[in-house]
Symmetry: C2
Subunit: 126 residues, 2 copies
C-alpha cells in the first residue's frame, strides 16, 4: 500500500467496498478483522463476525451506493490511511435516495494489503 498513490488506493478501496456491499454483502467479511470497529448510526460493534452480522441484517436487501466525494489522508507513522466518503444510498422500492457520510481507517496487513480498522457510518438526514 505504501508504494501506491494514496488517492488511487482509497478510490479503489471505495469502489471495491461499495460494489461488494451492493452485490454480495457477506463478502465484506474479507475487509474486517477481529479488532475492527464499526459505529453504525451511533451503534458500536466490534469484530468481523459482529460487523458482518450487522451489515447483512440491515432492513433492506437490494441497494445501490452512489459516491459523491472521496478524500484521504495518511493517519500517521503506522502507515494507515483515512478515507472519508460522501454519497447517496438508493434502496430498492424507495423513491428518494438517502444521503450518507462514512469514514474508514485502513491499516496495512503483513501481506501488503489492508483491512478496515475503523468504520463510522451516518445517514445525513435533510
Amino acid at each position: 500500500m505504501s508504494q501506491m498513490d494514496p488517492d488511487a488506493v482509497s478510490k479503489a478501496f471505495v469502489e471495491h467496498y461499495y460494489s461488494t456491499f451492493d452485490t454480495n454483502r457477506v463478502g465484506l467479511a474479507g475487509l474486517y478483522q477481529e479488532a475492527s470497529m464499526l459505529t453504525f448510526e451511533g451503534q458500536k460493534i466490534q469484530g468481523v463476525q459482529s460487523i458482518v452480522a450487522k451489515l447483512t441484517s440491515l432492513p433492506f436487501q437490494q441497494c445501490k451506493h452512489h459516491i459523491s466525494t472521496v478524500d484521504c489522508q495518511p493517519s500517521g507513522p503506522a502507515s494507515g490511511m483515512l478515507v472519508f466518503v460522501s454519497g447517496n444510498l438508493q434502496l430498492a422500492g424507495e423513491e428518494h435516495a438517502l444521503k450518507f457520510s462514512q469514514m474508514f481507517h485502513l491499516m496495512p496487513t503483513p501481506q501488503g494489503s489492508f483491512y478496515v480498522f475503523n468504520d463510522i457510518f451516518r445517514l445525513n438526514y435533510a
Copy 2:
C-alpha cells in the same frame, strides 16, 4: 486523554472546536501542529499556519455550527482518537443552513492534551 471516557473527550473537543471557530477562528491555531493535515472541500493543506490561513480566509465572517451527531473510536495502539461529526452551518445573512460532515484524528501530546493530526471537511449538498 487516555484516562478519560472517549465519548466525553470527543464531545468536549467538538464543543470547544466549533465554539472557537464561531467566535475566534484564529484561536484554532492552538489545536493544530506542523504535521497536521486539513482537507477542506477537497483542497489539501498542511501545517498549522496554512490551515489557520485557510480557515480565517473563508468567504464569511459570522457563522454558527449546530452539531447533530458525534461519534468516536480509538484509532489504534498509538492512543489517538477518531471523531466524526455531522451538523449544520449557518452563515450570517443566509436563509438556509449548510449541512456538513467532518472528521478529526486527535493525537495525544506529551503534556497530556491532544492536537488535530487529521481533519477532513465536506459540505453535504442536497
